[in-house]
Each structure stands twice: as structure tokens, then as C-alpha cells.
Amino acid sequence: MTEQPEMIPTGDNRMLDEVFSDRKITWLEKTLGTDNYRIVKGLFKTPASIIGFILILIFVLIAVFAPAIMPPVDNDPFKMPRDGYSGEPRGPGAEWTRKVPDMPFWYEPLTGKTEMTHVLGTTQGQYDILYGIVWGTRTAFNTGLLVVAVTVIIGVVLGSIAGYYGGWVDNVIMRITDIFMTLPYIMMALIFSAVLTPVLGRSLWPPLIAMTTFGWMGYARVIRSDILSIKERDFVLAAKVSGVKKNRILFKHVLPNAIFPTLVLASLGIGEVVLGFASLSFLGIGTEVGYADWGQILSFARNWITNLDRYWYIVVFPGVTLTLFVMGWNLVGDALRDVLDPRMRGKI
């Protein structure tokens, strides 16, 4: 008789992937861990999320290569170069005579001209729009990422302490959060900015500090509510029964599972912060006049709004840029939310 085949155990002794045996584990999965690998994979499934990532990638490239795209004229590259002081804006293709930057590498192949011009036009005061947009990308990333990072840290710390330790600590922190939330955001940011400007001088810092001070509450509440629910899950109770200390449970079990909705909010928040910053700049509170920032450029359009058919370029170019930037982050945030949501519903 031929050799007996190895007995295949029945019932529950087989691993799931002996049953579905074609699953290959890639090196990426090994490094990230199966859990995170699934998230990353899910992020690239829909066309919308891929578009979002591409948009952000484009902006990152613009920010990184800003000196090559539009070489700075001044010592401080964030000062937009002024071609004279005349009040009336000039359209795309206008001559550039004063404070002309070096010819960037793409200029001649793209436009075919040998003399530098304002490719996208100038604003009132003769600030070059293209320069503002390119270096404004750096400003957008700087301000957006900084404010979001700090507000997330503040929010997560406060919300975690409140949610995990409970009791009177929870009450105090939540009442403080409530007070901050009742204050209208733009108004408070405006007032705070205006108050800080004489103290700190007209720079990035007053609006940044203002936005950070009033932007953390959403994260605190979200993480607190997620922690409250995760705290009661069986695996957290199991850790407690296993003798794990309370603080370690917070960092090892509760936070890693509770942090995802907050991350979604954070990615959507970058778009919000940049928009908010632009609003503040548009209203005149914010950076100094002439700082390379999308909101700044838009603010120069204030006087010309009635004649937008002639001076459309002041609004359209920075406006489209701002829209695409925010949209990119929103798409990524939505994709992240979609990946996490069915996971939470279905699996755990």
C-alpha cells in the first residue's frame, strides 16, 4: 500500500490560512505589521484618495523645490519681490523690470521668452503672484503642520487624562474645554492676534499662537470619548486582570486603539488651519504685508473686487491653489476615515 498521507486535523486546529493558503506576506507587511499594512493598502483603493495623495505630493514638491522654481530676490525668501510701487495690478505676462529674480530653469522652455515676466501677473503694489504662490506653499505647510501638531498634542494629552482617569480631573478639564468652545473661533483668533501683534511684532507668530490656543478642543473631546468606550473593552479589562499597571494600559492598549478618529480629524484639520490662516491674512490680521502667503495675496484683491473681470488673476490663482491644497488633505482624511470605519465596525 502506498504511503499514508499526513492526517489533516479537522475542526478548529487548522489555521485560517491553511484553508486559504495562497496568502503571501510581503516585506512591507512584515515591517509595518499586518494591522497597519491593511490601513495603508486601504488608503490607496479609491480614485478619490489617490487624487488626494497626488495633490499633496505636488504641493510637497513645490514647497521643497521653491528656490529652484522661483529664486528668491531678498535675503528673506518669504518677502515677495515688488516690481515698483504702482497701485494698479498688471495681468499675466506683464514685464518685470525691478527686483527681477534669476531666470528659473523652466522659464525659457515653457514660455519661450528670454526676458523675465510676471507669469501670473501682479497684485496691487506689484507683488508677483507666482512667487507668492510658490513660497506660499512653504508657508502653508509650515503653519498647517505646526498648528495641527501642537493642537493635536494639547488635545490628546488633555483628552486622555480626562477620559482615562475620570473623576474630578475629567470634570475640570471638560469644563475648561467647554469654556474654550463657547468662544467663537474666528473672533477669538482675531482678537488674540490683534492683541499679540504689538507685543510680538507683525510676523507669523501672533496668528499661529492664536489659532493654536483655540484649536485644540475638538481633538480633546474626540479622544476622550473614544477612550471612554475603549476603556470598557474586554481586552483592556483583560490587561488589568493580567496585572498590567494602569499607565501602561493607557499607552499600550487604550491610546493606540483610540487614536485613529483623532488622526482623521487631524488630516482634515490641516486644510482648516490653512484656510483659517488665509482668512486672518485676508482680514489684515496675520503676517506682515508682503509675506508670501496665499491669504496675503488674496487680501490684495480687496480693493479690486468690483472689477474682477479685469483683475481676475489676483483672485483666481491663489484661490485655486488654496482650494486644491485643502481638497487634497480632505480627500486623504476621508480615505483614512473610510479605511478605519468598516474596520472598527466589522472586525473588532
Binding site: 475542526g11 478548529d12 486546529n13 489555521m15 485560517l16 490560512d17 505589521g33 499586518t34 494591522d35 473593552r233 474586554d234 481586552f235 479589562l237 483583560a238 490587561a239 488589568k240 486582570v241 493580567s242 496585572g243 498590567v244 499597571k245 494602569k246 501602561r248 492598549h253 493606540p256 486603539n257 472586525k347 473588532i348
Partner: protein, 344 residues
């Protein structure tokens, strides 16, 4: 059968009440009396089954014993140390002896941790092993619960329900506990797998001299594994006796009704037996009936039962009942639960 001498766990008048708040200022208007005065002992090496319908408070009792819920009143003595009175750190040290296995194999394992991390966590919490030694110990535990040690770096979602439950069991055994509270460990599994896991429980108990508090609502399963059985209703124990005694000679009307409802695959038997169907629904534990709690549904209740809670008395040696109407059948004879003559 019950040759166990040392009392490992003594629960005395345990109460767990959850407050109900109402109104803007969140005043306490009442409380859910999930566990309302429960007392029993578990001897070393034995299995005490704790049964009752959903919502009767058995899971809460189990968790209160392990101090996951802080009891509102009462004492839980483990080898004469009152766990209720312990502060956080001393209680944490007691966890080496008292462990718990959870009901839901899907929720009780952290989905972001590998099997190795899950099983190693108790060992790391007490600094009992590190590095290579830790891995060895984890593999040992996996073998003990009949899991292939090669799967040590897999994640919970890659396992089936029965295997996840084995992981949970391995985790509970990591610290060599003396006493394990098993909170409906097989209810979430397929019937065919339940048998395997129950056998595993029994083998482990023999091998490691474990003591179990086995919480379940499947009466036939409890009959198989328990030495003694306690029946809970609405937060209290209504009957407590040796396993055979309870199944053959139930004295509390609630126990009798429960046992009469156990399905038996025998058409002959169905024709012969008289099934007790309880009327009404279980009252809310926030507002239990005055007097004997069971009187609103009890076929034997009368005015006497409204007068105050019956005493939890030892009506026969080792057989405790909380009922005014329970009486020893006379003449005392061994009857099977199918032909319980008290009911006729």
C-alpha cells in the same frame, strides 16, 4: 468527587449596585442592584458552576470577585485576605493568583498585538521573564492549550474563535494562578468546538490543580464540568448544592423550572415530562420585588412570600436554598429530574 479541603475563595454578602443618575445636577435616583447579597465558598481544586439567565448578575459577580468592578459592599476572601479592602498595588500583586477568562474571544484580545505579546503580557507585568526565556515560556503555554507554537507571531484576526479562546486561556495560565474565573468561556463558540474547549478545561484542571468559578447559562455544560452548582436569579443565589444533588433534587421552584426547560433529544421523554413554564418577565434589577424576589413568577408563591427575603438556609447537608416554600420531599428518595415528583 468533592474531597476538597482548603477553602480558596470565600464570598460574603457581596453587593454590586450601579447608580442611576437623573436630572441636570445628576442626582442619584436609584441603583441597579446587579448583585444583591451573594455568599458562597469555593474549595481548592473544585469547580463551582454559577448559572442563571442573562441579566441575573453572574458576570457581574465574577468581575466583582476579580475586583474589575469595585463591590459596593461585602467581602471577597482569598485565603483569608479580603480583596475588597486592598489598595491598587497590593491587589495588582494578588493577580498572580486570581485570573479570568473572558466570554468574547474576539473582543478579549487586543487586535494590534501578536499572540506572543498577548500571552507574554502578564509575565512582563511582573517581570517574570525576558527575551529568549519569555519566548520559550510563551511557546510552552501555547503547547499547553494545544496551539501550534509556530503561530507565535500571528495576530488574533488570523485565528478562529476556538483558537482565540485558547489564546485567552494561555494568557490566564501564564502566571500559574490558583483560581480562575471563567466567564462563559464557551458561549461564543460553535457547539462542536465547545466540547473541545471544555475538555481542555478539565485536563488543565487536573494537570495544574486549578480551581474554577465557571459562569455559564448552558445547564448541561455546567452539569458536565462542575462539582457544585449555584443558581442565580436577579442578583441573588437561590440554590447552591452538589452537582448531582441539584440536578436530581432541585428544591427551589426557579431551579426546577430551569431544569425542566433543558432540551432532551428523546420524544418519549417529551411526552412524559411536565414542563414548568414561568409566567411574566424578569423584573428590573433596579426595582426588585419586595420579599422573595421570585414571587412574581413563582408557581408556588403566596402571601408568606411577600413578607421579607427568605433565609439562605441549609435545608439538607451541603444543599442551600433561599425559599419559604422549599421542603425536603418525603419520603426522601432519589428521583431523576425528569420525574420530579414535587411538581405533580
Amino acid at each position: 468527587m468533592s474531597n476538597h479541603e482548603e477553602t480558596l475563595i470565600r464570598v460574603e454578602d457581596l453587593k454590586v449596585h450601579f447608580p442611576i443618575y437623573r436630572g441636570v445636577i445628576r442626582r442619584q435616583v436609584g441603583s441597579v442592584k446587579a448583585v444583591d447579597g451573594v455568599s458562597f465558598q469555593v474549595k481548592k481544586g473544585e469547580t463551582l458552576g454559577l448559572v442563571g439567565e442573562s441579566g441575573c448578575g453572574k458576570t457581574t459577580t465574577g468581575r466583582a470577585i476579580v475586583q474589575l468592578y469595585k463591590p459596593t459592599a461585602g467581602h471577597v476572601y482569598f485565603r483569608d485576605i479580603d480583596l475588597v479592602s486592598l489598595k491598587e498595588e497590593p491587589m495588582r500583586l494578588m493577580r498572580k493568583e486570581i485570573q479570568m477568562i473572558f466570554q468574547d474571544p474576539y473582543a478579549s484580545l487586543n487586535p494590534r498585538m501578536t499572540v506572543r505579546d498577548i500571552i507574554a503580557e502578564p509575565l512582563l507585568a511582573f517581570g517574570m521573564a525576558t527575551g529568549k526565556e519569555l519566548d520559550t515560556r510563551v511557546k510552552e503555554l501555547m503547547r499547553l492549550v494545544r496551539l501550534d507554537p509556530d503561530f507565535i507571531y500571528r495576530f488574533p484576526h488570523e485565528f478562529s474563535g476556538g483558537q482565540r479562546q485558547r489564546i485567552g486561556i494561555a494568557r490566564a495560565l501564564a502566571l500559574n494562578p490558583a483560581f480562575i474565573v471563567c466567564d462563559e468561556p464557551i458561549s461564543a463558540l460553535d457547539v462542536s468546538i465547545q466540547a473541545q474547549i471544555i475538555n481542555l478545561f478539565e485536563d488543565l484542571q487536573k494537570e495544574l490543580n486549578l480551581t474554577y468559578l465557571f459562569i455559564a447559562h448552558d445547564l448541561s455544560m455546567v452539569r458536565h464540568i462542575s462539582d457544585r452548582v449555584a443558581v442565580m436569579y436577579l442578583g441573588i443565589i437561590v440554590e447552591l448544592a452538589d452537582r448531582n444533588e441539584i440536578y436530581n433534587n432541585p428544591l427551589h421552584p426557579y431551579t426546577q423550572a430551569l431544569l425542566s426547560a433543558i432540551p432532551v433529544p428523546d420524544p418519549e421523554h417529551y411526552r412524559r415530562r411536565s414542563r414548568i413554564v414561568l409566567e411574566g418577565d424578569v423584573p428590573s434589577p433596579a426595582n426588585p420585588p419586595s420579599g422573595c424576589r421570585f414571587r412574581t413568577r413563582c408557581p408556588k408563591a403566596d402571601e408568606e412570600c411577600e413578607k421579607g427575603r427568605p433565609e439562605f438556609r441549609e435545608i439538607l447537608p451541603g444543599h442551600f436554598v433561599e425559599c419559604f416554600k422549599a421542603e425536603v420531599p418525603s419520603p426522601l428518595k432519589e428521583v431523576t429530574f425528569e420525574e420530579n415528583s414535587i411538581l405533580k
